[in-house]
């Protein structure tokens, strides 16, 4: 066993036994490394695959669902949108700049490998409490800079995001990047080696010792000595990536590509075994043909290196000249490393000898692990006792709290305009909105809420999807597809696995109820705090895209016009558990969190889209973090007009002012309209509880309960709290 131990394999004793049994022999060092990379949690989904089957994946617009490099959705007019999400949590925790940069690099390749052009990036980030943690500020600052330096250079706009700060992410920040691509439906390229005799061409960056065992690194808990793991982080090179994008899109246009696959986690091992398995073929590769960054790299390292900016092309023999001419023009290097075979084997040669020969099917099918799950004992803290309660002061504190405050400090560092597609830009509305070449517009937004998921993973996770849907609907978009990212602690912990299972069930039920297909996703386990050894809060993320068919159907978020009626659609319940208000009171884990009702939500979304398209709604905003009071403040800030609103008039069984103002119940929108009767008719016929609660106008936000004025805050004061908070902490 000593020989095996020196390989630092992540395989369990049971997996090692399974390998020996299936092969009927002892694999050599190269073979162990290949299997180890491909059977890592990161590449194999061995702990999650069985549960991921719960997601509804079919729909009339779905061209390709999960299982490919990116999900593919038909958006009409012969065009498709591709979607993928990735995280780079562990690399970013030890090297925030490099980790975040290469995270973008990875997701861009997934979109590119489908033969589609990346047109937008969305970042969903989680950090510790920057108010009092220098380490979290360091992570936050450098992750932002890494995303900016990489995304800006490759010319793909970063158009939207979601950021949450919570102490459970103090040492294990989460850095998720999603990418949207656009392409022609008939010109998709798949990661398959279908034709024996085709050439395998490795394109782009050289292969080095960076990112060795990156997938394995992502598949274990961060250790205290995580700083020693910096060599597991890849080196970013956005310039080479930009050339790869431009040259490979030009190559894709020639129609000569028979398949394309990006090299991500697991490097060549994963890419080769997957193209062979997907194509029902084998591959025969000579590692001497791989361009290495340094001499003397042993074959096992070449096979598992995760050096960035590399792609694998499948080309018909004899068709390479035209392709190489394009690559040469961009000075993108290429080497023909082998051939597709019909023997179903992964044959790897090095210095004239076969150094690995494994069945491709066997390599890609890691045995699944059925982890036990156990519901944690409920530790419910009492609802925080009422103290002197000042609505105005609470509104200002919430507006300045990092989870709600303006993220201008972040998005102003990102080029969100390049490409001439960004109709709604960061900070302008609930979702980004992109112009598509078919004349439609695409709404994009990603969301998560770890505080609510920690108390109730089922409703919390479903609530993430609900929030994304609300955000998309608010800009006039009909939700058409979703990708998810599920981030949890160690799956061998039954309580962690229980929260994982409940989160998937929550999301799956919500999507099924709404008819929203899940076209892709990602799982990241082993996210725990290296100091406290506690798992991060359950952090499922949803990213929803929606279609707006006509640019006339866009209404602003803010109160622009004066003397309009303010209508609240949807019921406010006393659901302050996991709310930003309770976070403010230091009682985040107390109380009841919001629950979802997908049937009602479906009717609500239809009604709100109707109000937008018919021109009844003059502005629309969803209610989420901070509740109705914060949503109103955001509308005043976005549009410039003030408003006067009676919180006592909200549709609610609760009489508590704090619940009315700050509860984060799902299924609610705020709508400004000059025709409240028509708005009422539409909402009533959809069975949505609603009320006319006030009017726009003036230069301040006035909140009342009946005739009693609870607070009056001038827009300038709201503005200061909202805008100055992050710069004050970060600059």
């Amino acid at each position: 066993m000593t020989g095996l131990e020196s390989l630092r394999l992540g395989l369990s004793p049971a997996e090692i036994a399974a390998v020996r049994k299936r092969l009927g022999r002892e694999p050599n060092e190269v073979e162990w490394s290949i299997i180890d990379a491909e059977w890592s949690e990161h590449s194999s989904y061995k702990s999650s695959k069985a549960l991921l089957k719960l997601f509804p994946t079919k729909g009339k617009r779905v061209v390709l669902g999960p299982g490919y490099d990116a999900g593919v959705v038909d958006v009409g007019g012969g065009y498709v949108v591709t979607l993928h999400i990735e995280s780079h949590n562990h690399p970013s925790a030890v090297d925030p700049y490099g980790g975040a940069s290469t995270g973008i690099g990875g997701v861009l390749r997934d979109i590119l490998s489908m033969g589609t052009r990346p047109i937008a990036l969305v970042d969903i980030l989680r950090f510790g409490r920057i108010e009092n943690s220098p380490r979290s500020r360091w992570l936050f600052r450098n992750v932002t800079r890494g995303i900016a330096d990489y995304g800006n250079c490759v010319g793909v706009p970063t158009v939207a995001g979601d950021i949450e700060f919570d102490e459970s992410f103090e040492n294990n920040c989460l850095v998720d990047v999603a990418c949207v691509g656009i392409g022609r439906k008939g010109r998709l390229i798949l990661g398959e080696a279908k034709y024996p005799g085709d050439l395998l061409v490795l394109v782009g960056g050289s292969t080095g010792r960076d990112g060795i065992r990156g997938a394995a690194f992502a598949s274990k808990n961060l250790s205290k000595s995580a700083d020693d793991d910096r060599s597991s982080v890849q080196v970013p090179d956005p310039f080479t990536k930009k050339l790869l994008i431009d040259s490979l899109l030009e190559v894709a246009d020639t129609g000569l590509l028979r398949g394309m696959k990006d090299l991500g986690g697991g490097g060549l091992s994963t890419a080769l075994s997957e193209v062979a398995s997907n194509g029902g073929t084998g591959v025969d590769v000579d590692l001497d043909r791989v361009r290495c960054r340094e001499a003397g790299m042993p074959p096992a390292e070449i096979m598992i290196s995760e050096s960035q900016e590399r792609m694998l092309l499948m080309l018909k023999a004899g068709s390479t000249d035209a392709v190489f001419e394009i690559l040469d023009k961009y000075e993108v290097s290429h080497s023909t490393i082998g051939r597709v075979t019909d023997d179903g084997l992964l044959t790897i040669r090095w210095k004239g000898a076969v150094v690995a020969r494994l069945p491709a099917e066997f390599v890609v099918k890691a045995p699944l692990i059925p982890w036990p799950s156990k519901e944690p004992a409920k530790v419910r803290r009492a609802t925080p006792a009422a103290r002197t309660f000042d609505v105005g002061r609470s509104v200002l504190s919430l507006l300045a709290s990092p989870n709600i405050a303006s993220k201008r400090w972040v998005y102003q560092q990102y080029d969100h305009e390049v490409g001439l597609r960004t109709v709604l830009k960061p900070g302008q509305h609930d979702s980004a909105l992109l112009k598509l070449p078919n004349g439609h517009l695409l709404a994009v937004k990603g969301d998560g809420n770890s505080a609510q998921c920690a108390i109730d993973p089922y409703n919390g996770a479903a609530g993430c999807v609900a929030e994304s849907c609300r955000n998309v609907v608010a800009v006039g978009g009909e939700p058409i597809a979703m990708v998810d990212h599920l981030q949890f602690g160690d799956p061998s912990d039954p309580e962690v696995y229980w929260s994982f299972r409940r989160s998937i069930e929550g999301m799956a039920d919500y999507c099924a109820g709404l008819g929203l297909p899940v076209v892709g996703g990602k799982v990241s386990f082993y996210n725990e705090d290296s100091a406290s050894k506690k798992a991060i809060k359950p952090s499922p993320i949803s990213l929803v895209v929606g279609l707006v068919e006509d640019e006339k159907h866009i209404v602003p978020m803010g109160f622009v016009e004066r003397a309009l009626s303010v209508v609240v659609a949807g019921e406010t319940r006393a659901e302050l558990g996991g709310s930003e208000y309770y976070r403010l009171l230091g009682a985040l884990d107390a109380g009841t969190p919001p629950h979802v009702d997908v049937k009602k939500d479906a009717a609500l979304y239809r009604a709100v889209l109707d109000l937008i398209r018919s021109g009844t709604a003059a502005s629309v905003h969803d209610v989420s973090r901070g509740g109705v009071a914060i949503a109103l403040a955001e509308m005043c800030l976005a549009g410039g007009s003030g408003a006067a609103v009676d919180l006592g008039a909200l549709p609610s069984a609760s009489k508590s002012v704090s619940a009315l103002a700050f509860s984060e119940s799902h299924g609610r929108f705020l709508i400004a309209t000059d025709d409240p009767r028509q708005a009422g008719r539409v909402l009533r016929s959809s069975g949505i509880p609603f009320a006319i609660v006030g009017e726009t106008g003036g230069d301040s936000l006035v909140l009342r309960s009946g005739t009693r004025v609870l607070s009056e805050l001038e827009n300038d004061v709201l503005h200061m709290s909202f805008e100055e908070s992050l710069p004050r902490m970060m600059d």
Binding site: C153, G155, D237, F239, K242, E417, V418, L420
Partner: protein, 232 residues
């Protein structure tokens, strides 16, 4: 009018410039790869924004030594219009077709936002159709846009009216708070002595489609319309 848009490795606003130019009647924009030796067939040239050569060394430094720049230099010498947008401005400065340097922004951060710029010199091929003092709304997106020139030369640049675009508030006042990057004298764009070579940091091509403007404006179009209709 045939307009060459030079594409360097990792230019990323090249297609955007072409797209916006196409909105102007009479403009025939064409992408030209930086290694193509001649621009003889073109009436004007645009160096687009982006990160040519990955901003290696300094922004614009390597592109300024590419084959295309010899041709651009030759066109500039013949008095033909040359426009550098953002990274293109950086390239023109590195090629010494325009004076000064573009340093890292004060605050050392990339800044992407919509700004107001006043047109101070209508006597260039790119501002001919814009009244002096007009305030245009355009976005900026760069990390190195803080214009710098030694004090004496800066005074002479100002005096000779070679400051073409200046950051202002929406009323055209060049206030300190309207300066997004700490650039000298709020300078957003300048010209050479002859006026035919102009560089600016804001992106007129991103301000040409009202759907993409938060103000539903298309002020950037006036820059391209000036170029194409400039002779009339």
């Amino acid at each position: 009018m045939r307009v060459a848009v030079v594409r360097f490795p990792a230019s990323n606003c090249d297609m955007d410039a072409v797209t916006s130019l196409k909105r102007v009647k009479g403009a025939e924009p064409q992408l030209v790869w930086h290694e193509d030796p001649s621009l003889a067939d073109y009436d004007a040239v645009i160096l687009p924004g982006g990160f040519s050569f990955g901003d290696s060394l300094r922004a614009g430094a390597i592109a300024a030594r590419s084959p295309a720049i010899s041709a651009v230099r030759e066109m500039a010498g013949r008095g033909l219009p040359v426009l550098g947008i953002c990274n293109g401005f950086q390239v023109l400065v590195e090629a010494e077709l325009l004076p000064g340097a573009l340093l890292r922004n004060a605050g050392l951060k990339f800044v992407c936002k919509w700004v107001s710029v006043a047109v101070e010199n209508p006597d260039t091929p790119f501002t001919r159709k814009i009244a002096k003092g007009s305030v245009l709304r355009m976005p900026i997106a760069h990390g190195e846009g803080r214009f710098y020139l030694q004090e004496r030369e800066l005074r002479s640049l100002e005096k000779s009216g070679r400051v073409v675009f200046r950051y202002t508030d929406e009323n055209g006042v060049a206030s300190r708070s309207a300066n997004p990057t700490g650039t000298a004298d709020n300078i957003a764009g300048i010209s050479n002595r002859e006026g035919n070579v102009v560089g600016l940091m804001p992106h007129p091509e991103r301000a040409s489609d009202p759907l993409l403007s938060p103000f539903h404006s298309s002020d950037g179009m006036m820059v391209f319309a000036s170029l194409v209709g400039g002779g009339s």
